[in-house]
């Protein structure tokens, strides 16, 4: 292959590296109204009264909106970027009389500049009727205190939701008789694991600007992964026709799922629609940490049944997920905690997976890379590591014995056949890379430090089967260059480049000969958006098919110029030649001819969806050093091997893996979210919420073991999400191997390790 599989530079690389103004705030028109939100200081309250008269007198203030400005009878909606009808409940209003977490918007203020808006924010007088919140997610289900008591709450899909029970979703699935199988097992491990509401912490916070276009429509420019869903959400929130909304995205300063929820768009959209003036909102870091859309906190109760010989026979998982004040992505993330962890153990005879998703009065959760699989894999993979310890088995060989292989049917993965899988090769290669033979389980370095190793496996999906839609438009322009138009969102991942590589491979041209445009609801063909690890696999396939169709059109026009049938021609990327003869027309000549007296379109659009979601697989292993005096853990080396099918661009796939792994390491060791007794997030800045710096990691080594997925473009599956999952079980098991301490709640802090170790020694 000429372009696919090559580490070409990202098309926008030099623009980004030289600091060109390509992000939302950089291109917002001068003179935009500044929009900010007054937020609730209470976790649960009813607004008794709001006085805005004094605030309105501040010079420069254009408008202040409160719940009283929202039309009565307005239908609720969700901010979750999902295919309609969304699984997430319609439980929000633009502004509501009831506030449900510390940070819930109370008023929208728009003014000429930040100073006047800040002043006005401080002059709005709100009288609250403070109510008792539900803060403990263990006590939320069937609590008499309801987060959503309102009658107009709606659930559009059968996800087992019941707002009168604080239930955002409930589900039960199983295969075989789990109780029978567990009763026959020699060993049943019964363990509970807990992960927190970690933050995506993309460097660019949420931001949006809005203008009115020449037709009187609302044009929303936003840092979003989901332009099309965003259009629907904004129209729902403003109660205006979808035809009146256009959404486009410039460059995005990171997403990781955060921007799969319309966190910031609806507020300036409302301001601009009302005032007909341009407006913008830029979330502060504090707002991004306290009023956004973090990972769902989950508690997972695993029962793992096995025989003395190591054969895993059954997995029983109950997941309790905390969706917070609103249900964005609540019903869907929880599913992955079981459906993308249990299938790794393909030989088990039975499984059961039960889940509850509950409302509480904390910040609403959302989509974050891994989307529930991260949490579930931490639980299941940790339980398997614990089983290995109990059986005194090497964790690698226990996986060898039990793991899913190519061709296996995966009952817990909707019965899908494992069509492409190199997990066995990933496993053996990681073992070599980390030097497991010499380093397992631990070595005392004699200076109060212990070095140890631990490992874990992971899977994810490639798009949502039978739901996600990817499209591509390709057209031939002057001089024989191509334009690729997409609705998927490059958020730094490099999909503009990867999709162009796929097109270039089919069209037999250089990647420089393809320009990419996206994403804009007015111009792009429909695409669900960039999430659920869908873009390379789903949109990539659309690009491949689209390029094949365009080739046929090029031949058709070439044939008409040559005076022969299209089936008598060949196209080599440069010219169309009459089969067997020497007569040829160049691509440039064909492009020119297409613009003069022509009726053969040199423009194609293909839309693609997939009935399956082939899992990428991965194995990761950590070598850590524990300082037994301070409890500090340093990851010296992280080795990982990924099976993402064919890596379309090995450089970009590698950096995806390295970045995802470090996020997983952060989630394991430093990234904590805690609340005070009033429900306030304590980690509200980068000072308290510690994402890893470059001093916090030794080296990350990534390799690929390719399978070939027939349903994907050139054999490709996904990579974006699977890569975050392995550090959690790998590092916690390495900590156990070093200290004998088993931690089942993340993050594992130095205090916990130091105290635990000291206690153990006594």
């Amino acid at each position: 292959m000429k372009t696919v599989g090559k580490p070409v530079r990202k098309k926008d690389a030099m623009q980004l590296l030289t600091g060109q103004p390509v992000y939302t705030e950089d291109i917002a028109p001068a003179g935009c109204l500044v929009v900010k939100l007054l937020r609730s200081p209470h976790a649960s309250a009813l607004i008794k009264s709001i006085r805005k008269d004094i605030a309105l007198k501040v010079p420069g203030i254009e408008a202040i909106y409160t719940w009283e400005d929202i039309p009565k009878g307005q239908r609720r909606f969700t901010l979750a970027g999902q295919t309609y009808p969304e699984a997430s409940p319609y439980d929000r209003l633009l502004l509501d009389r009831r506030v449900r977490y510390v940070g819930d918007p109370v008023a929208i203020v728009a003014g000429a500049d930040e100073k006047s808006v800040d002043k006005a924010l401080s002059l709005i007088r709100v009288e609250y009727q403070v109510e008792e919140p539900v803060l403990d997610f263990h006590k939320a289900k069937d609590n008499p205190i309801l987060v959503h008591p309102e009658e107009d709450w709606e659930s559009l899909c059968p996800v087992g939701a019941d707002h009168k029970r604080n239930l955002c979703a409930h589900d039960e699935t199983s295969e075989g008789d789990i109780e029978q199988v567990l009763s026959e097992c020699d060993i049943v491990l019964d363990r509970v694991y807990h992960t927190k509401a970690c933050q995506q912490t993309m460097m660019e916070t949420f931001r949006t600007f809005c203008t009115i276009d020449p037709y009187g429509r609302l044009h929303v420019v936003s840092s979003t992964q989901i332009v099309f869903h965003c259009r629907r959400i904004i129209a729902n929130a403003l109660n205006i026709p979808k035809s009146m909304v256009r959404v486009s995205k410039p460059r995005i300063g990171g997403g990781f799922g955060a921007k799969q929820t319309s966190v910031s768009e609806i507020y300036p959209a409302f301001v601009t629609w009302k005032t007909k003036k341009p407006s913008k909102i830029i979330f502060s870091r504090e707002e991004s940490m306290t009023a956004s859309t973090p990972r769902h906190e989950m508690e997972m109760h695993v029962r793992l049944g096995a025989m003395k010989d190591g054969r895993i026979r059954g997995i029983d998982l109950y997941t309790l997920s905390n969706t917070g004040a609103y249900g964005e992505h609540g019903p869907t993330t929880v599913g992955l905690s079981g459906h993308k962890s249990i299938p790794l153990y393909g030989k088990s005879e039975a499984f059961r997976f039960v889940s509850d998703v509950v409302y509480t009065n904390v910040m609403s959760a959302g989509a974050y890379r891994g989307y529930g699989a991260t949490q579930g894999l931490f639980a299941v993979e940790s339980a398997v590591n614990e089983l290995a310890a109990v059986l005194k088995r090497d964790p690698f060989s226990l996986r060898e014995q039990n793991m899913v292989r190519e061709g296996d049917v995966m009952p817990a993965y909707y019965g899908q056949v494992n069509s492409s899988c190199a997990l066995d090769r990933c496993l053996s290669r990681v073992r070599e890379m980390i030097g497991w033979e010499e380093k397992y389980p631990a070595r005392d370095m004699g200076n109060g430090k212990i070095r140890s190793v631990g490992m874990g496996m992971a899977m994810q999906g490639s798009g949502i089967s039978n739901v996600d839609v990817g499209s591509a438009t390709l057209k031939l322009g002057d001089e024989g260059h191509y334009q690729l138009i997409i609705g998927a969102a490059d958020m730094g991942t490099g999909c503009d480049t990867i999709l162009a590589q796929i097109a270039a491979e089919v069209l037999e041209c250089e990647i420089e000969e393809i320009t990419v445009f996206g994403a804009d609801t007015d111009a792009s063909p429909y695409d669900s958006g960039s999430y659920a690890s869908s873009t390379t696999y789903i949109t990539g396939k659309a690009v491949e098919d689209c390029a094949l169709k365009l080739r046929r059109q090029i031949c058709a026009l070439g044939a008409s110029l040559l005076g022969c049938g299209a089936d008598q021609t060949e196209f080599d990327g440069k010219s169309v030649t009459r089969t067997g003869g020497g007569e040829a027309v160049t691509l440039q000549e064909i492009a020119a001819a297409s613009m003069c007296g022509n009726e053969i379109p040199l423009q194609e659009t293909v839309t693609h969806s997939s009935p399956i979601s082939p899992p990428p697989f991965m194995t990761g292993a950590a070598e850590i050093e524990v300082d037994t005096g301070t409890g500090e853990v340093k990851v010296l080396n992280y080795a990982a091997v990924v099976d993402c099918g064919t890596p379309i661009n090995p450089n970009l796939a590698r950096v995806q893996a390295e970045g995802g792994i470090l996020q997983g390491i952060g989630m394991t060791l430093t990234e904590n979210i805690t609340y005070d007794e009033k429900g306030r997030v304590l980690q509200n800045s980068l000072m308290q919420y510690k994402i890893p710096t470059r001093l916090d990691i030794g080296h990350i080594q990534v390799e690929f073991e390719n399978s070939y997925e027939k349903a994907g473009p050139f054999g490709a599956k996904s990579i974006g999400e699977v890569v975050i999952n392995t550090p959690l079980p790998a590092i916690t098991d390495a900590i156990f191997n070093a200290t004998g301490l088993r931690f089942r709640e993340l993050p594992v802090t130095p205090e916990q390790i130091a105290m635990g170790y000291a206690q153990k020694k006594e």
Binding site: P7, R9, K10, D12, A13, M14, Q15, L16, L17, T18, G19, Q20, P21, V22, Y23, D26, Q200, T201, M202, M203, E204, T205, R251, I252, G253, G254, G255, F256, S284, R285, E286, M491, G492, T493, G494, N649, N651, L652, R654, V655, E658, G659, G660, I661, L662, Q663, S685, L686, M687, I691, T693, R694, L695, I697, H699, I700
Partner: protein, 154 residues
């Protein structure tokens, strides 16, 4: 307050509010490469040179730069392109939002220490957060650039 600031070798006289931050001043002057990633001096995105020394422009008042030279990435185009190409060859720029601050501070490192060890690189750039890359690709890019520089010097 009236300030005279030499921004990217261009003399600018401006009447600024006493509490105006340098980051907002340079962005107002069109230097949009300078980004804000936090409000707590933790992320390094807003790094500019004040008299050739890297500073966090979110933590410096514009009036502090009165009579001084301020350099942003807009004023270092050639250097940025030369070094940036090595990051691009790793695909490590990713979303790009942290790139200007990272590139600025990397250039400051190279000026101060043309042959830094891996540890020196990590320490000097510890204040430049990146959420996409895991830093490994940035490190490879820096090392490849230093190698290239070395071979060019000979």
């Amino acid at each position: 307050m009236l300030v005279n600031i030499i921004l990217n070798e261009k003399k600018i006289s401006a009447d600024v509010e006493p509490d105006l931050l340098l980051i907002d001043f340079v962005r107002e002057q069109g230097c949009l490469s300078v980004k804000r990633g936090c409000e707590t001096s933790n992320c390094g995105l807003c790094t500019v040179f004040l008299e050739d020394r890297p500073v966090l422009s979110c933590s410096v008042l514009a009036v502090r730069a009165d009579g001084k030279r301020v350099t942003t990435l807009e004023g270092l185009k050639e250097e940025a392109e030369e070094f940036g190409a090595f990051i691009a060859d790793q695909g490590a720029e990713q979303c790009g939002f942290c790139n200007p601050g990272f590139v600025m501070n990397a250039l400051a490192l190279f000026r101060e220490n043309p042959d830094p060890s891996e540890e020196e690189i990590r320490e000097y750039l510890a204040g430049n957060l990146c959420r996409c890359s895991g830093y490994e690709g940035q490190l490879r890019g820096i090392q490849a650039y230093l190698e290239w520089k070395k071979s060019n010097r000979v």
